[in-house]
């Protein structure tokens, strides 16, 4: 029996360990992405027997047609509302609960669970609940507005309002998750820093927040923002269950358009082009996320 050298054996072990997973990735992720990229250059119709190459026409259509542009701007508006909303609210809630932990730890835990519930709940099921809550005549929101003599709103039926309504649901859904991340960040701040700040005359809550908490939370905040952005770009469930992109495409978003074009209109080529654009956006965000995670806390 010929003994393999140690180096060869180690190499074989490496291949044996990493090989199957790599193969699975190639077959189930890279290959489909390559096929989608190829389809995005064709006019392929789902189920059709033939197709022709049309170059970048699908991409051109996405960026120049009214509907394509609308889906892109709607998505950007949604992201632009959800990121600041859920990051700021998440931070405020985390700060509050972190302090509450000192004088009422049990209550703080209860609140933590309550805030985290929307994250754990199925969004599709929750959408049905939102639909009831926001119903123009039967919903509690409008009945409450009428009770205090404010005009009722058509939250999901008004073209100017629907996207913001969905954004608020998006914020509601992500606040709990961001809160957990911020709480972890707050726990990691050493108490000595607060003591030192107090000695240096920055003892008021306001100045200790700006001189200690906020700078120490910097990396966490960046991380939270990237995660929130990646989730916000993926918005689909609420659109699909509550508005179907309507009324009149007022709440059409990138992923919903992708679904609509591919699975309702059967335009596989165009839908693939949207997928590739969406993929590119997420790729950039993921790279950013890697960078952020790798960057060590540089304040220590």
């Amino acid at each position: 029996m010929t003994a393999l050298s140690l180096a060869t054996r180690e190499r074989l072990t490496d291949i044996w360990l990493a090989g199957p997973a790599t193969l699975a990735m190639v077959v189930f992720i890279f290959l489909p992405v390559a096929i989608v990229a190829m389809l995005s250059l064709t006019d392929y119709q789902f189920g059709a027997t033939t197709f022709s190459w049309i170059g970048l026409e699908n991409y051109q259509k996405l960026f120049s047609s009214t509907l394509g542009r609308k889906a892109i701007t709607n998505t950007l508006i949604y992201v632009a509302v959800v990121i600041p909303g859920s990051v700021v609210l998440g931070l405020l809630v985390a700060l509050g609960l972190h302090r509450m932990n000192h004088w009422a730890p049990r209550l703080s835990n209860v609140f933590r669970t309550v805030y985290f519930l929307p994250v754990a709940a199925t969004l599709v099921a929750m959408s049905v609940a939102w639909q009831m809550v926001l119903h123009p005549s039967l919903g509690v929101v409008n009945q409450g507005l009428v009770a205090v003599n404010l005009p009722p709103q058509n939250w999901l039926g008004d073209r100017g309002l629907v996207l913001y309504t969905l954004s608020i649901i998006g914020i509601w859904q992500t606040v709990g998750y961001n809160m957990v991340l911020f709480l972890a960040g707050l726990l990691a701040i050493p108490d000595e820093l607060y003591d030192a700040a107090e000695v240096d005359g920055a003892g008021s809550p306001w100045s200790s927040f700006w001189t200690v908490t906020w700078p120490m939370l910097g990396p966490t905040t960046l991380f939270v923002m990237v995660i929130t952005a990646a989730n916000a770009f993926r918005v689909f469930e609420t659109v699909a269950t509550l508005t179907k992109g309507g009324p009149a495409f007022a709440s059409d978003t990138l992923v919903y358009a992708l679904y609509r074009e591919g699975f309702v209109y059967f335009k596989a080529g165009y839908s693939s082009a949207i997928t590739i654009v969406f993929f590119a956006i997420l790729l950039v965000l993921t790279l950013l996320q890697f960078r952020v995670v790798e960057r060590k806390v540089h304040y220590r």
């Binding site: 189920g47 027997t49 005549s137 999901l156 009149a248 495409f249 059967f266």
Partner: protein
């Protein structure tokens, strides 16, 4: 020696028996409505045809999902032999050459089997019969009689014109803040129905031009605006409206006749919904038609033996016996004239369900095809139509919007 002979004889019998039994695979969608009905149909059919075995595929969630699956299966070579598809969706299969025309089987028997020309039109394209209707629904008015009485109206003298309906809806709308007068979906099928009531058609005979940009189209689309301005219609989404009507806060709702059972169950003890036929808005009733929703059945198998068995199955489920099972179990209207004409099939059912009689009579009298726009952009343009209806409801000029829409559709569909 003997055992060998027995074995050989047994083998022979087995092969013969095997050769006689033809198996057909059936695809259907929407199990919430159809699951039990499909099993009943298959059982009843197999009892009459012991030589044919019906195997039911796991159902698709919706007609849209169902067509997707059929397309996927056609690519993979595992297409079922027979499929129930949405009446506005079989053209997608026809477009890809998957459906087998039924003309040879029908021969000159169509009328005798209970398929009237109106019913046959649901599955015809370019003179070929690709599908036969299995269940049908048209747009009807659901009325909350309590609200009508409260607003000073009467169910006995319920208006039969759109003007009358708008007037009554306005009165209901005035009752209080929570109560709405009328609602109709801003949707291709609803618009085609209103258009048909005015004697209009969405396209010309050979589908080479859009024909709703005329007086009939403007008036039909204008109704959306009149509902909003004169009767205070809110811009509910479909789900919101379908919650409001059973909750008793909506007076008159234009909806598919297939929702009758759901609404009656939803309203429960609170009130008894009444079904009224859609108003006819033209003097020339020969031009009136209502696009018909529901399902049709198509033959997909290319194997001659299976085709023969599949036709027996199709004939059974679209015939009076199959239709009786479908009507009694789903609440859809039948797509066979014999089952309505012959009281022995559904007489008792109609006596117990007067609302069904109203809806089903409307189908039998005015059934027409739910026009599917041709080509790759066919489904996409229906969303453009819906968007234009939203604009008209919210105050855009009906005539200008519809003219614009027709031009956009002509370009998009490659008609010019």
């Amino acid at each position: 020696m003997k055992p060998v002979l027995y074995a050989a004889a047994l083998a022979c019998v087995a092969t013969v028996a095997h050769a006689q039994e033809t198996e057909i695979r059936v695809h259907y969608a929407i199990p919430t409505i159809w699951a039990e009905t499909q099993q009943k149909l298959a059982d009843a059919f197999m009892e009459q045809h012991p030589d044919i075995k019906v195997v039911i595929d796991g159902p698709a969630e919706s007609y849209a999902d169902g067509v997707q699956r059929l397309l996927r299966e056609s690519v993979a070579g595992t297409t079922p032999d027979v499929a129930y598809v949405g009446l506005n969706r079989w053209r997608i299969l026809e477009d890809r050459g998957l459906t087998q025309p039924l003309d040879d089987y029908l021969g000159d028997q169509a009328e005798a089997l209970g398929y009237t020309p109106a019913l046959l039109s649901l599955g015809q394209y370019e003179g070929k019969q690709h599908a036969l209707g299995t269940s049908a629904s048209t747009l009807v008015m659901y009325v909350n009689p309590d609200l009508v009485e409260k607003a000073g109206g009467s169910m006995d003298t319920f208006p039969t014109t759109f003007d009358g309906v708008i007037e009554l809806a306005a009165k209901i709308n005035q009752l209080d803040d929570k109560t709405d007068g009328v609602w109709i979906g801003r949707h291709d099928w609803r618009f085609q129905s209103l258009l048909g009531s005015h004697g209009g058609r969405p396209m010309n005979e050979n589908e080479s031009d859009i024909t709703f940009d005329n007086e009939a189209g403007f008036t039909a689309a204008g109704l959306y605006q009149r509902f909003a301005t004169e009767a205070g219609m809110k811009s509910y989404g479909q789900n919101e409206a379908r919650q409001a009507f059973p909750a008793g806060t909506l007076g008159i709702m234009f909806e598919s006749s297939s929702l009758q059972k759901a609404f009656e169950a939803g309203a429960g003890e609170a009130f008894a919904p009444v079904v009224k036929p859609l108003p006819i808005a033209t003097d020339d009733t020969s031009r009136v038609y209502f696009p018909t929703g529901g399902s049709g059945i198509v033959m997909l198998t290319k194997d001659a033996d299976k085709q023969a068995a599949a036709w027996e199955y199709i004939k059974y489920v679209t015939g009076p016996e199959g239709q009786k099972i479908i009507v009694e179990n789903t609440g859809y209207a039948p797509a066979n004239a014999k089952v309505i004409e012959d009281e022995s099939y559904l007489g008792e059912f109609y006596a117990a369900n007067p609302n069904s009689r109203v809806a089903h009579t409307q189908v039998a009298t005015y059934a027409g095809p739910w026009y599917a726009y041709p080509g790759a952009e066919g489904v996409a343009v229906t969303d453009l139509i819906a968007a234009s209806l939203v604009e008209i409801t919210e105050g855009e000029d009906a005539k200008a919007t519809i003219e614009d829409l027709a031009e956009t559709l002509r370009l998009q569909l490659g008609m010019k």
